[in-house]
């Protein structure tokens, strides 16, 4: 066959492998060649050769890019941090193991913001990842390496993680598909934690069907993750949903002020497309959504301040010992090993949990989270899905927001409410604004992945987004 196999979607590749049209050896060699073209700093590690896993698994041997923070035995797993530079874990994350078993072996690890804290990938200790659409711009974050690698055709598909938007926002900024699944539906075991009650792994792919395919092999209760649960539905191969009568809710709180005109235009156009396919579109209140960002920037730093306490220079990773006793070693190691943003969030989270402030900050934030969940519960009584722009802006220029942490935080405001509610949401590319991709977010109730994937696939068909400009030639 003379077709360029890298131009096929994974779903198509899997079919071609099954039909005997593509050999696995050829598939792996081709993709290794692609991965070696990385000039975006998207990849942190590339395999010498792809090890075969689950020979006859449903994923056809199509190799996988994996975000740096997934522990992979004997392969550097650094979570974008100097404190874990060169760290070789003695075990592999459940989801990576499961995907290898299902026939998606590891081909590369991808760069990310340090400990997944960031929306631009500029907080990566190993240098920023560049956006393949415009190398002067950020790919989004924190799964920016995965999104850029998929968009540039360096890997066929990739794993990301999402805490407040870290799959969806870089997917939007790079013009690819990103699914943040229902909290608990994918094991977190072996994911280097940022904020445990929010972190969730998910696929970053070129098509909606690919996202569904990868997700179908990721989900499931893991005896090693006590917060994981069995998905109540079996995750089916994605079929575009007939949108006739499908009710889409548009929350004014997440689509009004702050959204760039170009993004708004693309959003409106996609709503028109949905209507033309039979969907009804109506305003849908999420009254507490404006408070989501505040709650998020208390809960996530609080959890991270505790999660990152294990980075202490004793069992693994960096140690700086100024010979001032144990506490001196802790302080020096952590000061040298963590970047600015991580230090800032550790400080913020420590403060929010400290004596006298817990109730005012962390305690209140957890109550706001309840209200946000209730808002969504109410909304889903009247709507099948809620739609918003994924990111209020397109990819911004490198360095343009690094001086002001708050403005960077605001780029998460469309994605954070779903994270707090633990519900699934997908971002699909829905057009360009000034030549840069825009993302469209579709969120549904807990465990409604089949539904939002179906809606996304229907819109994808109509949008006919062309991602080829990002492709590394």
């Amino acid at each position: 066959m003379s077709t360029d196999i890298t131009k096929l979607s994974v779903t198509e590749t899997v079919a071609a492998v099954a039909a005997g049209d593509i050999s696995k050896a050829n598939l792996h060699a081709t993709w290794l060649d692609r991965a070696r073209l990385d000039d975006l700093n998207a990849l942190s590690w590339v395999a010498d050769r792809v090890k075969l896993g689950g020979e006859d698994g449903p994923l056809g041997g199509v190799p996988l890019g994996v975000k740096d923070l997934f522990c992979t035995e004997g392969v550097p797993s650094q979570s974008g941090s100097k404190i874990l530079e060169g760290y070789l874990p003695p075990y592999t994350a459940t989801v990576v193991e499961a995907l290898t078993e299902a026939g998606a072996p590891l081909i590369a690890k991808t760069h990310q913001d340090e400990f997944a804290m960031g929306s631009s990938n500029e907080n990566c200790a190993f240098g920023p990842v560049l956006n393949p659409w415009d190398r002067g711009r950020v790919p989004g974050g924190s799964s920016g390496g995965s999104a850029a690698a998929v968009a540039a055709g360096l890997v066929p598909w990739a794993l990301g993680t999402d805490t407040g938007g870290s799959i969806r926002q870089p997917a939007a900024l790079c013009g690819v598909v990103g699914l943040k699944p229902t909290y608990g539906s994918v094991s977190r075991y072996g994911m280097i934690a940022f904020a445990s009650s929010l972190d969730q792994a998910g696929p970053i792919t070129r098509t909606v069907a690919d996202a569904g395919l990868l997700y179908s092999q990721m989900t499931g209760k893991d005896p090693r993750d006590a917060t994981s649960v069995e998905h109540p539905d079996s995750v089916e191969p994605v079929v575009p949903m007939d949108l006739t009568g499908v009710r889409l809710g548009v929350p004014e709180e997440l689509t009004g002020e702050g959204v760039e005109p170009g993004v708004r235009e693309a959003f409106e156009a996609t709503l028109d497309l949905a209507r033309s396919l039979g969907a009804t579109v109506a305003p849908c209140p999420l009254p507490h959504a404006p408070h989501a960002l505040s709650a998020y920037y208390l809960i996530a730093p609080a959890e991270c301040s505790s999660n990152l306490a294990r980075l202490d220079g004793v069992r693994f990773g960096l140690r700086v010992d100024p010979d001032e006793g144990l506490d001196g070693m802790y302080g020096a190691t952590r000061a040298a090993g963590f970047g600015r943003e991580v230090r800032r969030r550790i400080m913020l989270g420590t403060y929010a949990l400290s004596s006298g402030y817990y109730d005012a900050y962390y305690g209140r934030a957890q109550r706001v989270r309840t209200l946000i969940s209730q808002d969504f519960d109410t909304a889903f009584e009247d709507f099948d899905a809620i739609v918003t722009p994924t990111s209020p802006s397109v990819a911004f220029e490198l360095g343009s927001k690094t001086a002001d942490p708050l403005s960077m935080y605001l780029s998460d405001f469309c994605t954070v409410p779903m994270s707090l509610a633990g519900i699934p949401a997908i971002s699909i590319p829905n057009g360009l604004s000034d030549g840069l991709p825009v993302g469209f977010q579709i969120a549904g109730p807990a465990f409604s992945e089949n539904r939002i994937l179906g809606i996304a696939a229907a819109l994808e068909d109509g949008l006919k987004f062309d991602g080829s400009p990002a492709w590394i030639a």
């Binding site: 874990p89 075990y91 005896p223 993750d225 959890e303 069992r315 144990l326 802790y330």
Partner: protein, 475 residues
């Protein structure tokens, strides 16, 4: 001078004898080579997650039931955040405001709460040779880290060091009978801290308390608390004030030293452990825990009264100290239904308990004790000889009958040997003999003593007296 009374509360950590650790499947084994019982979870490696051990929860529920606690139908684990080398994650997973069990009562002392948590690892301080000038290093062994602990916190209802020791002994018995822990203070599976304060008799408000740590035997619990009570009493009565601090008791010197006070106040930043969901304790779990409950000490004591006719006090002494109760029951069973259980009870409570440290392995086997008491009851040996044999058996083991045989300890009585010994005594102290003959009973003492010495305690005192009197009366 105002009279002060001690107010004592205890915090007891019990290592639960589950097969695996609290949050991972590693099997802790006491005395194993360092760092051979670890995994990503108990090493606190990045990405690893805790999962609650079902049996630890079951054991916690059993403990709660045995202590008459209320069992929470929803219980939450929190993170207690602080940095230390024996704490791999930078936090301990413990319970905070929603413990597994709360309230409760055991023998006059109210239980505040019982909660589950994970044990710390072992930090071995060693001054290492071959390192730069006297710099010492510490080495961490994570084998023990993550072992399940139940922490039992009492209300400050204890009024003396002796009561603290006795109560702790009852608690140990109770826990042991539940089969949920080895409760060995030596091996650290039972650890006790005490909160101690003094207040004027009649006051109801509590004085400033100190926390006493590291009392690793029952005797040290009593001695340590006693020492701290005295220290506080002297301090207060000389016009000083007690400072809230944590103290370490050194059993060898009997001294109390303040542990290095942290410069910053403790701020553990407790928050709900986000890697775990709340534990829902369902009716099946409670029923299973209930069904597994053994006979508890109070019930055991009343059974001893009913079945063996022991006095309430003696029955409680044995039942509340499980080792003694077990020894009593086993010994009485070997001796059979017709035998004198009260003799066994008296010996176990008196002679044995005064010789054997609670929880120690160096004790007497029930078979040996039954044999010994059989010899005593059959009048084959004297009480004094029996005591000596008990010493030997506890120290070296062996059979009392064989000891009697090999060392010629059988009682001297009635026969020529005793008669000859009495004659020799009279002959060697004619002065005393004359006084006895004149009816002066006091003078018997030296003569009896001579006989006892000659027979190495194998003669019965009463018999010796009677024989002396009869011989002198006839003279």
């Amino acid at each position: 001078m105002i009279e002060l009374e001690p107010v004592i509360g205890l915090e007891i950590h019990v290592q639960l004898a589950t097969r695996t650790k609290m949050f991972c499947g590693c099997e802790p084994v006491f005395g194993e080579d360092p760092n051979t019982r670890t995994c990503p979870v108990c090493l606190g490696l990045p990405g690893a997650l805790p999962v609650i051990n079902e049996r630890a929860v079951d054991f916690g529920l059993r403990l709660g039931l045995a202590l008459g606690c209320e069992l929470a139908d929803r219980s939450i684990f929190h993170r207690k955040n602080y940095f230390y080398a024996d704490l791999p994650k930078g936090y301990q997973i413990s319970q905070f405001d929603e413990p597994l069990c709360s309230g409760g009562f055991l023998d006059g002392v109210r239980i505040h709460r019982v909660h589950l948590e994970e044990d710390a690892a072992k930090l071995v301080h060693s001054s290492a040779s071959g390192r730069i000038q006297g710099a010492d290093s510490s080495v961490v062994d994570f084998n023990r880290g993550g072992t399940p602990l139940a922490e039992i916190v009492t209300e400050p209802d204890i009024g003396s060091a002796a009561q603290a020791r006795e109560w702790l002994s009852l608690l140990r018995t109770t826990v042991k009978s539940l089969g949920i822990s080895d409760v060995s203070m030596e091996e650290g599976s039972l650890r006790c801290d005490a909160n101690i304060s003094l207040r004027p008799v009649g006051e109801t408000t509590l004085g400033t308390k100190t926390e006493l740590k590291n009392m690793n035997s029952f005797r040290f619990v009593e001695k340590g608390i006693e020492a701290e009570i005295e220290r506080q009493r002297e301090l207060i009565q000389s016009g000083g004030t007690v400072v809230q601090e944590t103290l370490h008791f050194d059993p060898r010197s009997g001294s109390l030293t303040a542990l290095r006070s942290k410069e910053e106040a403790h701020d553990y930043r407790y928050f709900p452990e986000p890697d775990l969901l709340p534990v829902a304790v369902g009716p099946e779990m409670i029923k299973a825990a209930q069904d597994s409950l053994p006979e508890l000490p109070a019930a055991r004591a009343s059974r001893y009264e009913d079945d063996f006719g022991l006095t309430a006090e003696l029955a409680q002494r044995l039942a509340f100290n499980g080792d003694l109760g077990d020894l009593f029951e086993a010994t009485a069973a070997i001796r059979g239904a017709g035998s004198d259980a009260k003799l066994v009870a008296t010996w176990v409570n008196g002679e044995v308990s005064s010789r054997v440290e609670e929880g120690s392995d160096q004790t007497v086997e029930p078979e040996a004790l039954a044999e010994l008491l059989g010899l005593l009851e059959d009048d084959k040996i004297t009480t004094a000889a029996a005591r000596g044999i008990l010493d030997t058996v506890i120290e070296q083991g062996g059979s009392p009958a064989a000891l009697v045989e090999s060392q010629g300890l059988e009682k001297v009585g009635g026969g020529d040997e005793l008669s000859a010994a009495v004659d020799a005594a009279i002959a060697s102290d004619p002065e005393a003999a004359a006084k006895v003959a004149a009816g002066e009973q006091k003078a018997l003492g030296p003569l009896v003593g001579l006989v006892m010495k000659a027979t190495q305690g194998r003669a019965d005192g009463g018999e010796v007296r009677a024989l002396i009197i009869s011989k002198l009366a006839g003279s």
